[in-house]
Each structure stands twice: as C-alpha cells, then as structure tokens.
Point group: C2
C-alpha cells in the first residue's frame, strides 16, 4: 500500500532534489484548450451578443433568446439574500464587514510635493472605471470568492463591478447571488466560459466592456484571460492551492492534520506540507492523518493530494524551516509556534502568513479580513495577494515651474543629445529663457 | 502630396469612427518570432551556460569562450563613468538624484492593527530578492532607461539587480555602463536576446535566476518575456510611445510642434495627437510643423509617424478634450493650458500628466523624477507607471487570538459548511473552546 504521506528529512543528502521533485508542477497549457478559447474570443469580438448567446445556449443549455434575458435582475439577488437562513446571512455579512474593514487599510491616496523652485511632482491615484468578476458555476461556485474579489474593487472606488457566472441548465446559485448583493456588485449576467471573458474584454451591445477581469475559472477561462491580457487587465492565473506549516511540535497534532486536510480537500493537485524539528511530533501528525482521514467527506481527494503532493518534513530547526519556506514561497504559511511574530520576521516570501496556534488557514479563507486570492506556485517571490491596489492605478504628475524648466531643461537637453534625440532636446531648450 | 498630419473635428458625425481608426494598432505577435523565442528559452533552460554562450557567439558575434568572460567587471563600469565628459556625468547624476528622490515617496511600509479581542491583522512588505534588467544594445541603448528601471528596484530595497545587455561585435556602450554604476546595478553581463531572458528566468551555472525581469527589448525579447511570465514576474510589454496634448491655444505653437516631434521621433509607429478648441491655433501648429520638420535630424521618422498616426483635432471645449483624453488613456498627456491643475483633476486615465506650458514631456523622459516607463496602448485604464511598488510585494499577516478564534471560527465554519468544505470547517471548529 502506498504511503499516506511522504516523509522527508532535511538532513538527507538527497533532500534538495526530493524537495524540487515535490514542488514540481506541470503548468504547461493545453494547446487545444488555448485554440478553442482563441476561436471563441474571436467570434465574440466579431459577432458580439449573437455569439455570446449561441455559446451560452450550447454550453450551458440555457434557453434564453436574448442576452438581455441573461442579465440577472437585482430583484433576484435581493430575493436570494432575503431567502437565506439567518445564520448563513449573518455569517456572510460578518465576513463581508471584516473583509471591507481590512481592505480599507490598503487604499492608496494621491500625493504630491513642491520643490524649492515651485515645481510640483506627485502621483494621482484613481480607481478603474469598470471591472468584470468571473464566478465559476456548478460545484466550484464559492460565495466567499465573490466577497474576496468584489469588495476590494468597491473599496478602491470602482463605480461598476459586473459579475458573470455560468448557470448550467439555467440553475442559479442563490448563495452566490446573495454574496453579490452583500459585496456591492452592480450588475450580473448568467454567462460563463471563454465567451463571457470575450464579452467583458471587448464589450457587446448588451454587456459593456470592462477594464480588468478578475476571478477564478476553469482552463478555458484561464486561457481566455491570458489572451485578452493587454486589452484589459487580469489578475494572476492561479495554480493549485498550497499550504506550508511550520510547527514547533506543541500544537495539538489533530489541529495540524486538519489544517493539512483543509488544503488537500480543495483539489487532488493541492499541496500540503509540514515542517517540524520534532520527529516524534511528525509521527503523531501522521497517526492523526490516518485516524481522521476516513471521517472526511472528501477523503478521496485528500488521500490523493497528500499521497501525491504532501509531505511531513523533519528539519534541524525553526531557522531551517524558515529558509525552506522562503525557497518554497508558499501561498499560505502557518507558523504554529511560540513567538510566531519573531519567526514571521524571517519570512520574505509568502502569500499570507498565519501566526500562532489559533490562526488556522480556514479563518483566512473566509472571514479574518485579508484576501484569500493569493499568489501560488512560488509566485509570492514577486507578487501579492489580491487587494485594493489591483483596482487603483496611478498617473504621474509633473508640473514644472518656469524656474524649474531652466534647470531641468539643461539636464534633459544634455541627456537627449547623448541619446541622439534632438527633438527631445529642442523641446526642452525652447523653454529656456533666451 | 500626402497631408503632413491629419486634421479632425470632434463635431463631425464620423469623428468617433475616425478616432477609432487613428488609435487602432495591430499588437498581434509574430508567430515565427514567438516560436523562435520558445526554442531558445527551452534550450537555455536545458543546457544553461553552454546554450547561452552559443547564442551569444552566433547573434552578437562575440568571441568569448565562457560566460564568465561575458560578465562585465565593475571596474569597467567605473572606468566608463570616470571617462564621461563632466557635463554628461553631471547630467546623469542629477537625473539619477531626482529619480531617486521622487521614487522614495512610493515606498510602501508594512502595517498592522490590533482588534479588541487581540487579533492582529496586517500586511508585511518586502522587496524582491533579485531583479533582472534588460537593456537593449545598439542604437536603442538608452542610459536614461537604465536609471528609470534600476533606481526604483534599489529604492525598494532589492539586494541584487543584474543587468544584461547585448554587445554586438563586442562593442560596449560606455554611457550605459556609466548609468549602471550611477543607478546602483550590482552585476552586468554582456548577453541579450531571448537567451538572456531565459538565463535570467531559469538561471544558469554562472548567471543566477532572478524573480522579475524588467526593461525594454526587441520582439524576441518581448516574446521571451511573455513566455517566462509566471516563472518570474515581468513588467508591461510596451507598445509604441504616445503623446496627447490638450492646449488652449496660448502656448507658443513652435513649442507644441516640437513636443509632438519629440514623441514622433522615437519610432514611425509613435503617436502624437493635439486637442485644441481653437482652429486658428491648429493652423499655426500645422505651419510650425511644416517649417520645423526639415530642420530635424530624424525628420524621416517624424514625417511618417505624423502622417500615419498623428492628428490635430479641433474640440468644442477643454471639457470635451478631457473626455477624449479619458477615452484614449494616453501614455503621456500634456495639459498646456491656464489652470492646468483644474483640468488634470478631470483626467482619470493617463500614464503621466504634464501640467502647464513649461512641462514638456522630454523633461519627464529624463530628469523630472517620475518614471518614464509608462502604460501604452490604452492600458493606463488599468495600469500604472513603473515604480517602487513593482519591486515590493506583500504578505498578509493574520494572527488570531484565542478569543478571536471563538468568533471567527463560528463564522468560518458556517461558510465552509455552505461550500461543502468540511475539513475547512473542522479546522476552525477544533480551535473553539469545548
């Protein structure tokens, strides 16, 4: 029988190679999916509503005869919200409030400063005009994802957030609609797939073009987003979800086992790894995994994820664990130790850092406040959680005074001549006093 | 004879269509270039230094026999700097100082806040570990580009900036090397093309892998950057440069003509457009263009750029000009009017805004302080100038207290059950007091 989860020892000679194999993930795109997405995009670009409607009828088996009929009226969302059980509505609203409160801290403000000669320099910060939010249909329809994507956009001041979500066989997800109402989404359309991405990117007669598209989707949606990037902005294309836990061996083993499960249950490709300097504790966690796994409704997914991509790794010290964590640059990092703040200060690369034994990743997924859209596949080395900053952009402000033009004009002209750009030089020199 | 520059009137019925045609730009990638870049990347990934050396020998006709020999030692940059004429060195250093002073304002700091129950939430901000800076060789080797790309990275705190620049036939550009010394670049290699991008993305035995690649390059470099995105971060792939000028008709016409030239001289595909409510002034500018054009060393490029992609547009008012500017979302916007501050407040989308008659774009290109790497092709609707923020990234911090876990755990468990993710729910519930 295959091992439940791989055991590694960082002191072994082959450890670095084993770690590289463990982290390896084939992110190559399927050429046939890419071509199919490209074809759909071109068709939607050219034929607009007609194409969008045809693809929606074909793929979602929806009987609408116009795109107008595919707009989900606000009254329907409000009804969905009103129909939610009170505990669920309260939980969604509490989560939304916390996500909003946190993200307000990310809002950047315009700034400027005035130099001695009266020249003013600065940066003007403005929200995007219109954002498209893709929400998957079917089983992967997560209302938490609506909150996490729409709220930062609204906090940034985006006037119009348009949600698209496929409704296979016309079946709408009421919790998703309720979440849209709570999150402040402005309009919603029951369309999905590459055709919805095309409609958002290029606009149709009914569905207005947006400036950026965010939100998760299947391989066709991801391929379409890659292709429209440049026409519109897009968020990161997420890989499989990951958790890395650094534990000193003093957190209840069941808690850590369940934290590993909570990542593994997402997807067979999800990755859950524990680093600990205490071999006996790793045994305890392995025993807890064996004991708890049969009780999980998603046991099959968890078992495959842990067997294929999970690991319990013995490290020499918490310091070494930090070094390995910086190499992995995990999407989620739990620091389940004493004095987690000191440990966190040694972490350079992670999407979200959960400090202390009470900070389970699932709290962050739903309601702690920070965003759950995080960089995967080592991209935390150079990218950040989704945030308000993804829905604001900056314009440089340059207001050169008459006096400033005398100083700057000479410098610019000198450098422009050096680069062989004489019109640049002349343009600066014209502003010099004769 | 073809018109020197197109004249349009915003009151004409066909204006919007004419504007759409004027702005249209085919950004489609050349498939053969893309395939060639992909082949080179795969080869460099597999064979490392050996492949990098072969491509460098072949494409740059460089006789080096090892990559070590292609590292440009710091002593060479220092010598290049020492050998610069004093006026040029002073201009470069003055520009670098101003760019540094401006970018310091963009540095984001970590933040956190503590809730009533002791839960701490925040965001930890860290620089990237290592950044690659591509600098084109030959005629397009712009020392100002070295300053604009390297300085924000160093202000962000990036410990290691590695410059790559091709040296066709072994010829090095001394001003580029001097700029690297001034900008604080850490290492430099005389390699270029898709092979340099591959080496930076994957690392070789000699050239270490970076976390992000920035800087302009030819079509092969752009294609390679697109392909390695995800493995490393990249900056925007720039389209042709653009200027849009809003003028009230009271700036000397020669100044505005030269400002249009300074954009047009970059490239035959560059775009220079003037919006003005005064038809007589547009005549004056057109006459100035005709008179000044023959005096320009790069007259042929300017003539083609203005004829193919330039326009003088009569608008009803400055308000209408602002509305058109927001539609165009230009890379550079000059507001050459009285009370330019009031006009700028109406602009939502532009890479850089130059306010007042003395703020020629060329001052911003070199030395005003703000970055000259700006969003082109209408992408200012959703993206920003290159800045310190491109070299910092964020990690969410979530430190839930024992008391906080009681409140948040119940909300998270409720939402997790609603999404069918029971391990998520259990992970939160384990932290609840029994």
């Amino acid at each position: 029988m295959a091992a439940l989860i791989q055991r590694l020892d960082a002191r072994d000679a082959g450890f670095r190679d084993a770690l590289t194999r463990l982290l390896a993930f084939d992110a190559s795109q399927d050429e046939s999916i890419d071509r199919a997405a490209a074809g759909i995009l071109a068709d939607v670009r050219q034929r607009g509503d007609a194409a969008l409607l045809e693809y929606t009828q074909r793929y979602d088996r929806v009987q609408a005869t116009s795109i107008d009929a595919l707009e989900i009226p606000r009254a329907d969302w409000e009804a969905a919200l009103a129909a939610l059980p009170a505990h669920q509505r309260n939980a969604l609203e509490a989560a939304a409030d916390r996500v909003r409160s946190y993200h307000v801290h990310q809002r950047a403000e315009s700034w400027s400063y005035t130099e001695a000669d009266g020249t003013v320099l600065g940066q003007q910060i403005t929200p995007l005009d219109r954002v498209g939010l893709y929400v998957p249909g079917g089983k992967a329809a997560y209302p938490s994802s609506v909150l996490m994507n729409a709220i930062p956009a609204k906090v940034a001041g985006v006037p119009e957030v348009i949600m698209v979500t496929p409704t296979p066989d016309g079946v709408r997800n009421p919790i998703v609609l309720a979440a849209a109402a709570i999150a402040g989404v402005d309009r919603a359309f029951a369309v999905g797939g590459a055709q919805a991405v095309g409609a958002l990117a290029y606009g149709t007669a009914t569905l207005p073009a947006v400036d950026k598209i965010v939100g998760p989707g299947n391989a066709y949606v991801a391929a379409a987003k890659r292709r429209v990037f440049g026409t519109v902005g897009i968020d990161m294309i997420a890989g499989p979800s990951e958790i890395l836990i650094i534990c000193d061996g003093k957190t209840p083993a069941d808690w850590i086992a369940m934290d590993l499960f909570s990542q593994a249950e997402h997807d067979e490709l999800a990755q859950a790894i524990l680093l600990c300097p205490d071999a006996a504790y790793l045994d305890e966690v392995e025993a807890a995994i064996a004991r708890l796994l049969p009780t999980m409704p998603r046991a099959d997914i968890i078992r495959k994820s842990l067997a294929d991509r999970g690991a319990l790794i013995l490290v020499a010290s918490i310091d070494e664990a930090c070094e390995i964590a910086n190499h992995i640059a995990p999407e989620h990092l739990e620091i389940s130790t004493e004095d987690a703040v000191t440990v966190a200060a040694r972490i350079r690369h992670a999407g979200a850092i959960f400090l202390g034994r009470y900070s389970s990743e699932s709290l962050g997924d739903y309601c702690a406040g920070p965003n759950h859209v995080l960089p995967t596949s080592r991209t935390a080395r150079f990218s950040s959680p989704l945030g308000v900053y993804d829905f604001q952009k900056r314009s440089s402000l340059i207001q050169v005074s008459h006096a400033g033009a005398q100083t700057l004009g000479r410098i610019a002209a000198d450098l422009a001549h050096g680069e062989g750009l004489q019109a640049h030089a002349a343009s600066a020199e014209y502003r010099l006093d004769k």
